[in-house]
Symmetry: C2
């Protein structure tokens, strides 16, 4: 076997690739496939599949289900499924008015969910992160009681984050240059875990992308909290931008001489359609959202918009006002209608997306997850 650059592929990387292939095949199956069915769909030999499946079972990633009762001739095959008690992901979220943590197992099921409502603007970043650390420790303890092993943690933050977990700016939290990844690594209950930090709208969009089983979708995910962020998914890939700071729709100008924003500008979308503003005037919020979303559609020719975070429960209230502005302001409105829908994962999309990012890391590279598979 040769790879694209023409040099031989090492045996160990072939094995890692095939382990992932078998695991993905089980994950993407509508039913519980047998070893023979996996061999048929992957093109690997039955002997190879069996050895890989044994490794994945031993590593706690797959379980073998009891064969169904015999109904005809022949021995019924045992089916394989993702292990519900194997590795799990810890999803964390810090937002303006709440902290949250969830534990999601390898099958994608939410096993624990903890939300602590409190205005984080009243706390220093250190105090807020310490509080989040306590919530994370509770979630980990609950996961341990269930027999789950955390593979890592990911934190969703409403701000601009660098790839190494530094929050450069989170205007609505009042944060500037806060090393959130380092702060969480100092929490004793998390000290042994890899910790990632990402923008909340990006994580929510990734969660939404993975909940969507339809090929390579293009959509804009909009997360409406006190601030507003967006994740841009183009042809099945999150578009992060040059520095990873794309999607700042909350600071798109809707009324140039309008209300002052915490960012220093005037008339930013989030001053009209952020959660606090929306509670005061939902009609204005929907119109302002419609104006900003029309700009996105005119610029990117995107025909699917997903409203998440606080917008998911308020979807029906907002929809007519947004659609009226889209009809009026999108140049192609008559040629190609834009579809609006609430987020599949609802208000939890960001923390679910964070936990999901951990789980996907295990699914994409099961060989790296466990020394037992190495």
């Amino acid at each position: 076997m040769m790879n694209a650059s023409g040099s031989p592929v090492r045996q160990s990387s072939v094995r890692a690739h095939n382990l992932a292939l078998v695991l993905q095949t089980v994950a993407n199956s509508a039913d519980q496939p047998s070893r023979a069915a996996i061999a048929a769909s992957t093109g690997l030999t039955r002997a190879t599949v069996s050895a890989l499946v044994d490794d994945l079972i031993e590593g706690g990633l797959l379980v073998e289900l009891e064969p169904a009762p015999r109904t005809g001739a022949g021995r019924p095959a045992a089916g394989l499924a993702l292990a519900p008690d194997g590795p799990a992901g810890l999803g964390l979220e810090i937002n303006v008015d709440y902290l949250a943590a969830c534990v999601v197992d390898l099958t994608g099921a939410v096993r624990h969910r903890l939300v602590a409502r409190a205005d984080q603007r009243l706390l220093s970043p250190e105090a807020a992160l310490a509080e989040l650390g306590r919530l994370a420790a509770q979630a980990r303890a609950a996961a341990t009681i269930d027999g789950l092993t955390l593979a890592g943690a990911a934190l969703a933050v409403p701000g601009l984050v660098t790839p190494d977990g530094l929050v450069r700016v989170a205007p609505n939290l009042g944060w500037q240059d806060v090393d959130a990844a380092q702060a969480l690594r100092k929490v004793p209950a998390l000290a042994d875990l890899p910790v990632a930090v990402d923008n909340e709208a990006n994580l929510a969009a990734l969660g939404e992308l993975r909940a969507d089983h339809g090929g390579e979708p293009t959509f804009l995910y909009v997360s409406g909290e006190v601030g507003i962020g967006a994740g841009i998914v183009l042809d099945g890939e999150l578009y992060r931008g040059g520095r990873g700071w794309s999607g700042e729709i909350g600071h798109v100008t809707v009324f140039p001489d309008g209300r002052p924003c915490r960012c220093g500008a005037n008339g930013c979308l989030e001053q009209y359609a952020g959660q606090e503003a929306m509670a005061a005037d939902a009609d204005l919020a929907a119109a302002a959202l419609g104006i900003a979303l029309a700009a996105v559609v005119n610029l990117l020719d995107i025909d699917q918009i997903v409203l998440g975070g606080g917008y998911a429960p308020g979807f029906d209230r907002l929809r007519p006002g947004i659609e009226a502005e889209l009809r009026r302001r999108v140049l192609t409105a008559e040629l190609a209608p834009v579809t609006l829908r609430p987020a599949t994962l609802g208000a939890d999309a960001a923390m679910r997306g964070a936990a999901d990012a951990v789980i996907r890391g295990v699914r994409d590279n099961p060989a790296a997850w466990s020394g037992r598979l190495g």
Copy 2:
């Protein structure tokens, strides 16, 4: 040799690939490489390179230059260059207040340039396209006198175009569902040529991309005529959007209750920063442009903006006003400055980009260009 799908590659496609490789190597060289230098940089054998070079010379795509006078020992090698008298591209443009045609040879040099200023809004689409056909016929006649052979034509239009050359809407021309490709194919002087039609800002952005030799740039190209369009280049690729209708920055709302636009909305950018509005109030034009460009930067995290079309000559006048709005309205303005620059190809970018698209087609697939190479 095997391709990615594991089936053997046919000899004819290997040859086509290698012809393109040799031609690109000459095109991308700073000097005129010898056959030996091409062999060294491509990894092909000298015999293979020589046979391919002979075919490309015979096909009119390469020329062999006289060796430089002997200065030392040994025989000086002949250098190879793109043929200036081989295939050429016909670039056409129809805009609100002018028609234009240019002939660009294989080396990228503009050999002929014809511009006819007249308000196209006063003509029917049929009459405007017939006029453009006459200009195209003049350009072709001039190219023929030069010994050039047109490889194809491409037309730049300020509107929404389908892949088969139908102009769905061009609001500033007042066009709706005009089959521009078919109309041009009916012009006798063009009847034997492949004709492509594309959005003018997209073609200009592609022209700008090819004039930029710095790897895989990300930039927004903004074309300011009576209407305003944009081409979005992400990591070296034009982002066209789901239906090819991205970049409609002219219809991004800047003042929600502002001036009525031909598209039916109010407060569209082009009502403040289109060429006619800009002539009336350049300060307001720059502010409106700055507001819309800040939205693009906030959404896409793009740090390079190229102003073309009518904005290229007016660049110095517009720059301070645009930059003031970007500083005020881009969330990351202090973390990552945005660079503004005029288009390298100036006001001709769209028709140059159109001609360039034809030339690139030949460069990318020289085997298809000429039966003599087949």
